[in-house]
């Protein structure tokens, strides 16, 4: 089955494709259309006076891209950097951002029937950014709303979020 046919099929059934990644022992999933590429972790240029999880910026083919470490942000897993460290480059809110995760596992297709609403429970990521729970091969997947997460004030990635933070302070 070609890529196009698959897309048409999934579009008809309302199913969508998700990229799954791990943070600590939890398995997360995000909309694959937001993913630009997956790459290894290179040395970054640090930016002063930023939170711990903001690792710095890298040069991605001439574009300067900020790198955030989700493991530090959500206090999950071990923030070690070696040849197995994975950075998912995502394209949200018109920005290109890299996020460090423990690992990228799979691309799965989930139909709306496979997704259940997220219960109010304490996962690593704040419930606000969780759109639902999916099940694939009896494994639980936490579906994240990556756009909202990146745009949120406590990520401090955008100037607008910064202003909101100022108001709150």
């Amino acid at each position: 089955m070609s890529m196009d046919e698959q897309t048409i099929m999934t579009a008809e059934s309302g199913a969508r494709e998700y990229l799954t990644f791990t943070l600590g022992r939890e398995e997360y999933a995000m909309d694959i259309l937001k993913v630009q590429e997956i790459r290894g972790y290179d040395s970054v240029t640090q930016i002063a006076n930023t939170p711990d999880f903001m690792k710095g910026v890298i040069n991605l083919r001439g574009v300067i891209v900020p790198i955030i470490d989700m493991r530090i942000k959500f206090n999950l897993g071990n923030a070690v950097y070696d040849e197995f460290t994975v950075v998912i480059i995502i394209n949200v809110l018109g920005r290109v951002i890299g996020m460090v995760v423990d690992g990228v596992s799979d691309v799965v297709t989930l139909s709306p029937g496979q997704i259940r609403p997220a219960p109010e429970f304490g996962s690593g990521i704040n419930a606000e950014y969780i759109t639902g729970i999916g099940t694939v091969n009896e494994q639980m997947l936490i579906l994240t709303d990556i756009e909202r997460l990146i745009g949120s004030a406590d990520m401090q990635l955008t100037a607008a979020a910064d202003n909101r933070l100022d108001l709150a302070a």
């Binding site: 001439g62 951002i97 910064d162």
Partner: protein
């Protein structure tokens, strides 16, 4: 003024051709019974731009025809006159006539005066038939002015010129090289520098000028012409010019000496390197003389951007290759090494060529203005001095081109509405001579261009009255800022008389439109009696910077070369603790506050003792601060990349760049850093 405008003719020809093509396109598509207001405005603006350019560059015959055309278009635009198919026809003929005149100036082809006269007559006939024939006094359209009379020539004379500048010459940002260059164009020119006042080496201050220059110039120009070259530099008593007798010319002419070392002597190191680089032939923004037609192609900015991005990638790839090759035995892989060094050279050449496509000094447009101001001031019977500041600020070519129109409008407005007539100025207790200042500077991530005058300022009442008359929503309770915004409305003009200088109210809406199109902002400041100031702030989407890379701990930063005054290694005795945290550096009698880069940017592992590190004196908008860094790495030309595209502004920086090893380095912004340090 002796500025050669011919270098800009090509741009004017190109722009005018575009405007004409645009006019034709709209006229061919327009529905005379039901014309679109936006189309009419667009045609009018095109005609207005051509007229403005023709006036500036001294093509009075074109200005006459466009003025007549514009007068009629203005009426149509204001619905004083209904558009008819016949008018569209004549408008198209007028466009052809202007094209013909344009071709005449560009290629020297024949211009059929009969056609031009006939078009003018028909345009005037229509204008005269309308209700208010007096609105625009037609200029003597039928008699196109002949070509400019040849400049007066006087017999060839040799002058001895002695310029003894005050000691603060360099602090006033005056550079002698352009003046020498200009004199060189006037005739046979030699210059010798001499030290005017001796001083002990101890306590020597390199920023003071202790030079005097002695020049000889053999030219057919007059003494006044020479004085004009020094106009913004020398006061009357500092400049001595005498005619030399022919015999003296042989005996007294000093041997030509290279003026370069002498002229640069008192200048500070950082700036000198920058300047020298910039003055080099083929350096950025310098254009080889554009003479032949079609010597330029207009290319979309996106294409150039793409080219520059790809260039950056190539440089990085090349640096990577070089790094790999270093690990190979140079004897065994001799061919590879040779090929790689060739690649490096070619890459550098290519990079320079690619970059030079986009960057040019703003002087490219600034230097049009002395002539414009001179001519206009004469026409209006005003005395005006034009000051140009920061002409070497480099700007994206796309921005420079788009900035030309708005700036022309602003300067015209300042002259026409801002500066008062000498009598009014004297009555107001001001000097009879008004001043218009054109200023450009890079401020953080933006280029700021400012047009300021010391005229009457904006008149609140008149603007409100006029706005009410034009049907704009106004009230007396509006703040000044809101009132100033009104003049940006299309069709707004406070001028009582319609002149061919300005006053049709196209100026400010064109300015706003053009600046917005560049992603810029316009701010207007005005105070009654003391003048007004229009500040255009443009984003620095792409610019090249001469920078010094410095190391602090394990991090590399780029400091713009133009804000570095000097670098020095301090003696322990030069350092003084002030309070618990602050330190000052004692440099030639001045105590300069020391900023630690590692504190500001929270970097670990940097040298803590200033005497083990390097102190860089930087200029933060007139304020001097010392910056402590571990090491100076080298001078580079760097492409400024925006961090804000994907992230947000980083305090203390003016953007980032990509180094040869592919790493990102932040570009420091002295002013912002001082602010950050103060609030630290």
């Amino acid at each position: 003024m002796t500025i050669d405008l011919s270098q800009f003719y090509q741009v004017f020809f190109d722009e005018s051709s575009e405007h004409l093509a645009e006019m034709e396109r709209i006229f061919l598509a327009i529905d005379p019974a039901n014309p679109d207001d936006e189309d009419l405005n667009a045609v009018f603006r095109a005609a207005h731009s051509i007229k403005g350019g023709a006036g500036t560059f001294g093509f009075p015959d074109m200005a006459v025809v466009t003025h007549t055309l514009e007068t009629l278009l203005d009426k149509v635009r204001h619905h004083e006159l209904a558009l008819t198919p016949e008018m569209v026809d004549i408008f198209l003929q007028a466009g052809d006539a202007i094209s013909m005149q344009l071709a005449g100036h560009r290629d020297g082809s024949r211009v059929d005066q009969q056609v031009v006269e006939r078009v003018c007559e028909r345009l005037q006939a229509i204008a005269a038939n309308s209700t208010a024939p007096s609105a625009a006094a037609p200029m003597q359209a039928a008699t196109p002015a002949p070509a400019e009379p040849p400049p007066e020539t006087s017999p060839i004379t040799t002058y001895r010129i002695v310029f003894t500048p005050p000691a603060d010459l360099y602090n006033r940002m005056v550079r002698m090289e352009p003046i020498f260059d200009e004199l060189k164009t006037m005739g046979e020119f030699t210059v010798t520098g001499r030290i005017e006042t001796q001083q002990e080496f101890d306590g020597y201050d390199p920023t003071r000028c202790r030079m005097a220059w002695e020049m000889t110039l053999t030219t057919e120009r007059t003494v006044e012409d020479i004085r004009e070259v020094f106009m913004f530099v020398a006061d009357e008593e500092e400049l001595f010019i005498e005619k030399q007798s022919p015999e003296a010319r042989h005996t007294a002419a000093p041997p030509p000496q290279p003026s370069d070392s002498a002229a640069g002597n008192g200048s500070v190191m950082g700036r000198r390197m920058y300047d020298r680089n910039e003055a080099a032939p083929g350096a950025y923004g310098r254009r080889a003389g554009e003479t032949a037609e079609a010597s330029s192609i207009r290319v979309g900015v996106a294409k150039v951007d793409q080219l520059i991005n790809q260039m950056g990638e190539l440089v990085i790839t090349q640096a990577m290759l070089a790094q790999c090759a270093q690990q190979l035995d140079p004897v065994q892989h001799e061919h590879l090494h040779r090929a790689l060094s060739l690649l490096e050279r070619n890459t550098r050449d290519l990079q320079e060529s690619v970059m030079s496509i986009r960057m040019m000094p703003i002087n490219f447009i600034f230097s049009r203005f002395p002539r414009l101001v001179h001519d206009l001031a004469e026409k209006l019977g005003k005395q005006v001095e034009l000051k140009l500041v920061g002409e070497t600020t480099e700007l994206d070519k796309g921005l420079v081109e788009k900035l030309a129109d708005p700036l022309t409008h602003l300067v015209r407005n300042s002259l026409d509405h801002g500066i008062e007539s000498p009598e009014v100025r004297i009555a107001a207790g001001k000097s009879p001579q008004g001043t218009i200042t054109l200023k450009a500077a890079q401020q953080g991530g933006r280029v700021v261009v400012e047009v300021a005058d010391d005229g009457a300022g904006l008149n609140r009442e008149r603007i409100l009255a006029k706005a009410a008359q034009n049907g704009l929503p106004v009230s007396d309770s509006m703040s000044d800022e809101e009132v100033w915004q009104l003049i940006f409305a299309p069709g707004f003009s406070t001028a009582e008389q319609v002149t061919d200088v300005s006053g049709r109210g196209v100026g400010m809406d064109v300015v706003l439109r053009n600046v917005h199109a560049m992603g810029g902002r316009v701010n207007l400041f005005s105070s009654p009696g003391t003048g007004s100031r229009v500040v255009i702030s443009l984003p620095l989407t792409l610019a090249i910077l001469d920078g010094l890379s410095v190391r602090v701990g394990s991090e590399t930063f780029i400091m713009p070369l133009n804000s570095i005054i000097e670098s020095l290694q301090p003696l322990p005795s030069d350092l003084n603790e002030v309070g618990r945290k602050n330190t000052t550096v004692h440099v030639r009698g001045e105590y300069i506050p020391l900023m630690r880069l590692d504190d500001i940017f929270s970097i670990a592992g940097a040298a803590r003792r200033p005497e083990e590190a390097v102190v860089m004196l930087v200029d933060a908008e007139g304020e001097r601060v010392a910056l402590l860094v571990d090491e100076l790495l080298g001078q580079h030309q760097v492409v400024i990349k925006s961090i804000e595209t994907n992230y947000r502004k980083v305090d203390g920086t003016a953007g980032a760049t990509i180094l040869g090893n592919g790493q990102v380095a932040l570009i420091l912004d002295a002013v912002d850093m001082v602010r950050l340090w103060r609030t630290h």
